[in-house]
Symmetry: C2
Subunit: 341 residues, 2 copies
């Protein structure tokens, strides 16, 4: 007799934003680890904007999730049995464990260890996971803000944006944010230390952005693309850097949408526009996690989590990201150490 | 009694490409150098695509030429009298001397010395001037091609492109070019060592470019922007670099034209799109000139000049650049050392 492994599989490829209709439950018995493998029990699933790309058939940076396969997801889980010398029963890991209760995993599935000294397990997929790591490494590897420069962050109150804003402010920058509601704009300033923030639904006319960024913009940390980006680009300063970390505001790339042609401003302002994918930077994770943990312990870095319970809530939580419904890093809890959720 | 200084001044700001109707002759007596200045007699004027930007009222990287002012131009001239200890009578200089026979210049007007050991004076504004320097420095400072990579050059047979192609080939790259006629495409291969070249008027369908670049494109040295660039971008490889050196194919930027939205390919392929303006790199000129001269002397670098005589030909020569009429670096000769031309 084996326990059940609840699983959510992809049943249909979404044209735009994935929703509940694209996934279905397909439970199976819990698998067993073979030599070199280990069995992980997921406690927390990470709900990420990038998951939209992973289920899209169009060109992306990874193979699309196959129809009928468990939805690809980062998760934090605990090793329940192991036939791998590096990972012992009880180890908490952050890795590619999917939308399911249990994952028979190998070493290649693990991104980082989640250490109890750094806080609750859920932090392993937020502050110390892809969002926190993306914020720090996209700034340090590509944008390289200098003290006195102005940094603009789109999705400023989100999991990535809120850390990017705080880290840029630590560097001595003026930090301004764009976000999707007046409430979030207020939290950008109150919670995350932005010098100013604007609800982009209230209008991004040139004069409004100029008032927000009177010295122009040196670094644009762009998680949205689309019309929000089109409003920001004209404010870029000479030798500005636009780091593309996401494209959350663009509903569909098929057919390819149109945008203002940017070659002339790239040329005359010597702008640099560069894409950033965190998985290119795995070797840098551990020291950055320790830096983030140190800031968090000393109370100088705030990170918000938005945790819901229950596997079946995952698809709607993902869809909600693209409507701006989350209040911090969106997380689905499956297990609290005693009870299945 | 003083000699006449023939001058061409800007009389009307062009909406698109500058032509004869935007300039007028406004001769004056030759000026006299004051303390710190020197009088240069222009032998060769440089006709450059960038001049379109210099007369445009819209945002560019330099102040627009004022109505009534001598047209801004690079030139090679010889010092005729001097009240500056650094520059002696007989020195040949490359600098901002304008569309005129004589210029009373100061040190800030000089970009480089033109040394007789490196070849004819005209080379000072082509191979050793902005075109050659742009080709070398845009590659070394931004594109950084590696042996085995594929480099695509637009305006492949032009003054900048022809040097870029040859320098990229020296690096061990596969070098492919786009140019505006079958004849120029043939010369790209025969004269400038391109592995392959295509007349973009013959069509840039995806299959044709794939056949030209079966391994995709790692570096796009873009002098055209516009629809030519739109056809090239989808062939960019992971971590490709697009260096924007010009926008020659776009007739007008007012209103800003539209283009396929590129954020997703920048993100998923981690592309880097960066603008390059040669005047940011003045301190690097002299060693690059010596490198280009060494290659030229050993016969391993070819540079074509297209020289016309007579100041009044300058506006039409500039307009002709945008119709692809030049056969190499376009130059206007004003003086042959004995005769006014």
């Amino acid at each position: 007799m084996s326990a059940a492994n609840r699983r959510l599989v992809l049943v249909e490829r979404p044209q735009a934003v994935p929703g509940a209709e694209h996934f279905a439950r397909a439970d199976e018995p819990v698998g067993a680890a073979e030599d070199g493998q280990f069995l992980v029990r997921n406690h927390f699933l990470s709900i990420d904007p990038a998951q939209r790309g992973w289920v899209s058939a169009s060109s992306s940076y990874s193979e699309p999730v196959a129809i009928g396969a468990v939805m690809r997801s980062l998760a934090v889980g605990v090793v329940e049995s192991s036939r791998n010398a590096r990972y012992a029963v009880g180890d908490a890991l952050y890795g590619w464990f999917g939308w399911q209760d249990y994952c028979v995993a190998g070493e290649q599935s693990v991104l980082a260890r989640v250490l109890a000294k750094n806080g609750p397990l859920s932090a392993g997929l937020g502050l110390y996971g892809i969002p926190g790591l993306t914020a720090v490494l996209a700034l340090s590897e590509i944008a390289r803000p200098q003290a006195g420069e102005t940094v603009m962050v789109s999705t400023a109150a989100g999991a990535v944006g809120s850390v990017a804003g705080q880290v840029a402010r630590r560097t001595g920058c003026r930090v301004v944010g764009l976000t999707g509601s007046d409430d979030k704009a207020a939290r950008c300033v109150a919670d995350f230390g932005y010098h100013a923030a604007l609800n982009y639904h209230s209008g991004l006319e040139r004069e409004r952005l100029r008032a927000l960024c009177p010295q122009g913009i040196d670094v644009f940390f762009d998680n949205t693309a689309g019309e929000i980006a089109d409003a920001v680009w004209p404010h870029m300063n000479l030798r500005g850097r636009v780091v593309q970390c996401g494209t959350a505001s663009v509903g569909s790339w098929d057919p390819q949408p149109m945008a203002p042609r940017r070659e002339r401003e790239v040329l005359t302002k010597r702008l640099r526009h560069e894409g950033f994918i965190i998985f290119d930077h795995l070797a840098r994770f551990q020291p950055v996690i320790e830096q983030l943990a140190a800031w968090s312990r000393e109370g100088s870095l705030v990170f918000r989590e938005d945790i819901e319970a229950g596997l079946d809530r995952a698809p709607a939580a993902l869809a909600g990201l693209f409507r701006g419904e989350n209040r911090g890093k969106k997380i689905i809890q499956l297990y609290d150490g005693a009870n299945l959720l």
